[in-house]
């Protein structure tokens, strides 16, 4: 986390608002139910929006802590499954080379 002097919310407050609105929409309910078989949980976006606005108005340390914790939890949740494959350190060497000769068109 950046030091307190230069810290700002990970996303603009408008983004938290937009995510909350999308999450609460009927279309998203349908998409989420179709994928997961349950209703979406949108409360955290609203809490994050409140924290974001709190920080903007009062530079609240508690708001900063809460936002960081929430976003770190999101990152953790996205990374919790072990990948099937090993990630590359660099892209494939032949990506930009001409198409191999044997692939005749």
């Amino acid at each position: 986390m950046a030091d307190s002097g230069s810290w700002r919310p990970p996303r603009p407050c408008e983004t938290y608002h937009a995510e909350w609105k999308l999450c609460r929409s009927a279309r998203h309910f349908l998409h989420h139910y179709y994928v997961h078989g349950e209703r979406p949980a949108c409360e955290q976006w609203l809490r994050d929006l409140a924290s974001c606005r709190d920080w903007e108005e009062r530079r609240s340390a508690e708001a900063q802590r809460s936002l960081c914790e929430s976003e770190r939890a999101r990152v953790q949740a996205a990374r919790k499954h072990t990948l099937v494959w090993a990630l590359r350190q660099s892209p494939p060497a032949d990506w930009h080379l001409p198409v191999p000769q044997e692939k005749d068109k």
């Binding site: 990970p10 996303r11 999308l22 499954h81 892209p91 990506w95 930009h96």
Partner: protein, 174 residues
């Protein structure tokens, strides 16, 4: 793709060809080329979906050591991701296929289409394909890179792109 070091050049990385059967497209890892089956792609919406599907394979090839030809698990993982993230299994597309289901049906569709895709390119038994998909499903279904979410519509895709553009601010402030 560009951010991952694999900028796409339309002339180099796409090839329009006539294909056998009713295959819509494919990713050829040996030539780093996306093949679009010009005789089987029906309309613009279908084209959009096929391009997205194959670009997910290309993205996986770019960012990971995917053993396309020697690991059915690796192939299964990329097919799960492509079916999940390309719109292949949207409610509307499934209804057009006369596959009716709502609660968690998306996952059923992703599994079934991943199996079909594997069988289209590998001479293995259905049981082997099913086993590979089931083994990797939990991990690969929940891997939403590069979007961070399943892009159900343009709105979701826009939000995913917005998050991508915001990534430096995001990771330096959590």
């Amino acid at each position: 793709m560009k951010h991952s070091g694999c900028a796409i050049n339309k002339e180099r990385h796409f090839s329009c060809e006539d294909c056998n059967g009713n295959v819509s497209g494919g990713f050829d890892a040996s030539s780093s080329q996306i093949v679009l089956c010009q005789n089987n792609i029906r309309n613009q919406a279908h084209m959009n979906r096929v391009v997205t599907h194959e670009l997910i394979h290309a993205f996986d090839h770019c960012r990971a050591h995917v053993n396309w030809f020697t690991s059915v698990r690796h192939l299964a993982c990329s097919e799960v991701r492509a079916a999940n993230l390309s719109g292949d299994c949207s409610l509307v597309n499934e209804i057009f296929r006369l596959h009716f289901g709502l609660k968690r049906h998306h996952q059923t569709c992703v599994r079934d289409r991943a199996i079909l895709s594997i069988l289209a390119v590998r001479n293995i038994s259905r049981e082997m394909a099913e086993k590979a998909v089931d083994e990797v499903f939990e991990s690969c279904f929940n891997d939403h890179e590069p979007f961070g979410r399943i892009p159900h519509s343009q709105t979701y895709a826009r939000y995913a792109h917005r998050d991508f553009q915001n990534r430096d601010r995001y990771y330096s402030n959590i």
